[in-house]
Amino acid sequence: MSLLGIDQSQVKRLRGTADEITRQIAPLLKSHTTVTVERAVLRLLGLDGVDHNQVPLPNVVVNHLREKVRDGASTAMLAAMLHTRASITEVAERVARGELDLHRLPAVPEDEIRHLGLELATESMERIQAMVRERRSRMDRLPVREQPWKYVIVATGNIYEDVAQAKAAVRRGADIIAVIRTTGQSLLDYVPYGPTTEGFGGTYATQANFRIMRAALDEVAEETGHYVRLVNYASGLCMPEIVVMGAFERLDMMLNDSMYGILFRDINPIRTFVDQFFSRMVDAAAEIIINTGEDNYLTTADAVEAAHTVLASDFINESFGLAAGLRPELLGLGHAFEIDPDLEDSFLLELSQALLLREVFPDSPLKYMPPTKHMSGDIFKGYLMNAMFNLAGIWSQQGIQLLGMLTEAMHTPFLQDRYLALQNADYIMTAARHIHDQVTFRPDSLVIRRAHEVMDKTGVLLESVRETGLLQAISSGWFADISRPADQGKGLLGVLEKSDTYFNPCKPVLASRLGLEKEIDKWI
């Protein structure tokens, strides 16, 4: 039942506008690839490991290929495999040792290359599919709790400390554990390797770390009787590679946004758009829920003034996501509780926003971020702000509730902070469990008026973006008060025009798994 009385035809109209906006980007996606997409393809085809300098083999190969990457990094590798009858990793190791030059390969018939490529890509899909089955069977046995799922972060920098902290949190009721990445990993143009113990404000995202945490959470899930979801970040310069690692290690959710890297990491816009699309196809195949990053907008822009930019971005993220094969159930669209707590009726405005998002995206498990910007050293007040956030969460029936930490302004969470956060959510969500079913809003209430205002402004913004074009809108600072021109930004050198003979064996395999055969060529 609609609490806010949002007009469904308006919602449909906005969705249509968003689709037109993202469709405008399609030609760019189609004509470009990036170094990390190519490395992700190599990983999907089975490449892993590092060279003697700890450089990941996918990077070794792509660096080695230089201009030839435009053909698709796998093309030369598959040719070399056929030629040398070695595995993809063996080939890469030879390249690393300087024993093999992929620029000097004898000709191999194109159909053999394609055939091997599709074969390996299909194997890769099987590997991912096995993880999907594994997840489903565990979830059958260890049912997840009802929503809002309680999501907490660990971020000690040391994967082994993270494990202890994560397990403790699960024992106290956490449903989801996110391992925050070390500061600056998003700007590394490679993915570090092996277990790590030295991060700043977070722990390196490595496949080994994923595996260690996955095992720990599976273990504690058996004891508590509930499957525990694991989250990491498929974001930054290596977004698609990290998705592949996550798919292989049965991560359940990944932070993944179509614009976050552009706005907040100054990553080149085209790079980000290309990366996110491919990433999401892998996410979709692996049934990984993505979490988008709209909450971040409100850490720089004002949450009252910029509320509609959050919703507009959610529509855009949704449109890109659906196009890449993500079903609505896998779209954890982001929003946040970030209005100045000293503003009169701030809670009512927050509630309005939360209910609005819920009503506009009824089938998606929204990701709801706690207060961060207005958190201060006053931990007592912060604890209350988190309580009101939890109340808004249960009231508006959020899906994924990122629990706020009372020490948000000081440090990544201490063990006790996480415990207190869980206690906060438990108390509030139990005490007001059925509030959603109790209450209606008066037609002239602030809650309803505000929701309509935000909807209307979102419509206007989306229209303008369609007129202007998304790249120009971003360049003009329409999102998060940040301006990012399309021809600048980090990772620009890694954006490449595809050659006429470009081949990516994972594309058709993914497309068929996702039922996108008819649509996919319009996009990539």
């Binding site: 082994y160 400390e161 202890a164 201060s376 050293g377 007592f380 063990l415 006790q416």
Partner: protein, 252 residues
């Protein structure tokens, strides 16, 4: 993580980091001097690092602080011997059975909240039929006669009633602790009992949210019980203690 029990420090997000949160008020007006005073105090307390993360003006020349710090101090956990009531806790049925078996008669227990203290919920929880948090009180025990005198009973009255009824044990509850009211009342009760030459005649048990076994022993009681106590804890202790007294008596 290799835990060294000889060197236990608080844990924030890595072993032995010593992380702690403090909050307190200083009688100094809000400003850089007060902030520095707060930091110095933290350092004096043994903090290697300390950070005033919040300072607020409370008015009238007072300032409030929230401080996070990392302490250098540690304690040796191998060195700790815990003072707690060590007897087994039997459930109600077992208690009744034991009493039947060991004494062949009902035990008599009197209890009260003494002094000006009128917080009876605690003593009621232990003594009254209804009990507390699903645990029935002593009145419900078949083999116990329980007399709850309630609130604001004078120590003299409690002792007189105990003699009158010829009880086995006396339960004293104290909840108000401001200006150490509980210590004064409990001490007075023990002194009174001793002065009357009756200390050995009764098992003396004290209870209340700010009491524990250690403190009760120091005050001259036989046991002390704090938060989360149920009737069966008390009954079990009384049985054990009476048996022990008897065996010591027969030896002596």
């Amino acid at each position: 993580m290799d835990l060294n029990l000889r060197e236990i420090r608080p844990y924030g997000d890595s072993l032995s980091d010593g992380a702690m949160q403090l909050s307190f008020t200083l009688p100094l007006p809000t400003g850089p001097l007060a902030k520095e005073a707060a930091l110095r105090l933290a350092r004096k307390m043994g903090f290697a690092e300390a950070d005033v993360v919040h300072m607020a003006d409370l008015g009238e020349g007072f300032s409030f602080f929230v401080v996070y710090g990392k302490t250098r101090l540690f304690i040796d956990a191998t060195d700790i011997t815990v003072t707690a009531v060590k007897t087994d806790v039997w459930d109600r049925a077992t208690c009744d059975e034991k009493i039947r078996e060991l004494f062949g008669r009902k035990l008599k227990i009197v209890g009260a909240c003494i002094g000006e203290d009128a917080h009876t919920v605690g003593i009621d929880a232990i003594m009254n039929m209804k009990g507390y948090a699903g645990h029935y009180g002593l009145e419900r025990f078949a083999m116990i006669d329980a007399f709850n005198l309630g609130a604001q009973v004078e120590p003299e009255t409690l002792l007189a009633r105990a003699r009158e009824k010829d009880v086995d044990a006396i339960l004293v509850s104290q909840v108000v602790t401001q200006r150490d009211a509980h210590l004064q009342n409990l001490t007075r009760f023990v002194e009174l009992t001793e002065a009357a030459g009756l200390r050995d005649r009764f098992v003396l048990v004290a209870g209340g949210p700010r009491l524990d076994h250690k403190l009760a022993l120091e005050l001259g009681f036989d046991a002390g019980f704090g938060r989360g106590t149920f009737a069966e804890h008390v009954a079990s202790f009384v049985i054990h203690h009476l048996v022990q007294k008897r065996s010591m008596g027969s030896e002596g």
